[in-house]
Symmetry: C2
Subunit: 333 residues, 2 copies
């Protein structure tokens, strides 16, 4: 795909053409190096409001995401949902799509849902996700909700990407302890106890309060982390969740503008994300099927395998060669 094609798709997508958007997201996931590079050069440089929705399977996360879409639409905002599924490239998004259709968003031009596999792993999160968020922002969406399945590395990674991360829990699943163990509690900005009409809500809230208190003592948790109740299936508590996300988003902006130091949580997240993206890009430049550095790597590997060169000098040669490739591929405009 040549550069003009990507430019045309981006223009059509910005004007509301959903087929053009879908094709752009396919370029993001599977496109060749030149198309990806062209796309990156054309995309506006700037953050897109991103909310991470995380939580263990079975807590009603997809239903809550669909309800949150409704609350944001009621405010006139255009909302895109990226469902990142580490196991299946289809199921998560398909289920979520069903939920959203059930809630009556299916004919709504202001809502877009897409599932992405988390192949091309960047820790637990596909390197394509941050780029997809930019494409959605350039296509007129005000908010992007990134939903991940499971509790673990992908949750910690999505928190580095998102402005605000919502951790969804439910009574009686023991997922609070699981989340704390996986380090997800530490990266959550808002905690939600969904299915709050069931028994065990108070016990879960008490457990969460204890874990947050401990986290504050050890410095793992900082700032106010609100704990909200929702019943996603009937929409209870969802407007309050939307408000809490907005408050957390504003607090984040405030701490950025106050120029909080490099030790701040926002800085740590940004550092983690940028480093991961740099490493993901280096790996892609060397390892993707059509990677510009594939030959470079193959030659170095052959030299090492055949005993002609040690791996340290071979790696050095790859780093130097890659630097040349990167410099020579910079467009002149």
């Amino acid at each position: 795909m040549v550069r003009t094609d990507v430019a045309e798709l981006l223009e059509r997508s910005g004007a509301g053409d959903r087929r053009a958007l879908a094709r752009l997201l396919t370029v993001v996931e599977d496109g060749d190096d030149a198309s990806r590079r062209a796309l990156l050069a054309l995309l506006p440089r700037g953050p897109v409001r991103t909310v991470g929705m995380t939580g263990a399977p079975g807590v009603g996360k997809s239903t809550l995401t669909a309800a949150l879409v409704g609350a944001l639409r009621a405010q006139g905002r255009r909302v895109a949902v990226l469902a990142v599924d580490p196991s299946s490239p289809l199921t998560g998004g398909a289920l979520l799509g069903d939920r959203i259709r059930m809630q009556g968003h299916h004919a709504d031009e202001g809502v877009y849902v897409r599932s992405m596999a988390s192949r091309g792993q960047l820790g637990g999160l596909s390197a394509a996700v941050p780029l997809a968020v930019l494409v959605l922002g350039a296509s007129g969406f005000d908010d992007v909700l990134v939903e991940t399945v499971g509790v673990g590395q992908s949750e910690v990674d999505v928190a580095a990407l998102a402005d605000v991360t919502v951790l969804v829990l439910a009574p009686g699943l023991g997922d609070g302890v699981q989340a704390a163990k996986a380090g997800v509690l530490e990266v959550a900005d808002v905690l939600v106890v969904n299915r709050a009409d069931r028994s065990g809500v108070e016990a879960l809230e008490a457990e969460l309060a204890g874990m947050l208190e401990l986290g504050r003592l050890t410095g793992a948790v900082d700032g106010d982390v609100p704990v909200l109740r929702t019943v996603a299936v009937n929409g209870e508590g969802v407007p309050a969740l939307a408000a809490a996300i907005e408050t957390s988003m504003a607090a984040r902006r405030g701490s950025s503008e106050a120029g909080e130091g490099s030790g701040s949580r926002v800085h740590q997240r940004a550092r983690r994300l940028v480093l991961a993206l740099v490493e993901g890009e280096v790996r892609r430049l060397l390892s993707a099927p059509d990677a510009p550095g594939a030959q470079l790597l193959a030659r170095a590997v052959a030299d090492v395998a055949e005993g002609e060169l040690d791996a340290v000098h071979a790696a050095q040669a790859v780093v130097l060669g890659l630097a040349d490739l990167v410099r020579n591929s910079v467009p002149s405009d």
Copy 2:
């Protein structure tokens, strides 16, 4: 440390000066970027014979390593041992040093022992280890034994570095199953049942035979993997181990010279090692305390944290800036 200093240290170390060698290995572990780069430029480009010694704690691995040093010395070979300890930078090497002293190698100019922490993680293996191996080779050692503690990622990584990997087990510890689970069995070229004078040897051998058979069926294990018995404390079976290592080393050379394709085990190992070293180098260039790219990364992170730039474009800027840094730091000679 300026370049001439590194050159002088390397010359002295090559002439047998052990203090110069120790200082070079400190440059490898903790040196500034310029010294490391100077060292890399001066080191001969070519592989050094490397044997990985892996196995769970308690199998008698250090004693066996010391005994193997004796067997190699008896052949007139000069032998260095790198003890890589993921937990403590001192204990492993200190213990091993004791063992080797006990075996009478302490006054032997042909033996050198050094412990290295596995900080600056490259998977489980410090990125400094492959560079240290080159320094030892340039200092006149014929063989470098790299001993790792524990069963897991560091074992799989050391196998990518080593020409031949020896997995040491002992009866009655259940470590065969552990090794198989961790994927270590698949990367071992030689299996050793140490403490073969104890009960349970036949059971362990039968278990290993079954696992190897299964591994061959699934394609995870290829080629002949000999299973040897040793009693390290009295040296039983150690000459046979040295011979098996030599046979495996020759087979490896044979398969390299036969030009076996990119799917071969040797190629896979080389690819894994080179990619890991490239990624480790990129991380070091950005993250080490005196890293040349530290400012570049800090600026990008600040832009993202302050909401001025999205992370994808920030990472792209880091990749471009790093390419410039790498190109500009290439010495003209």
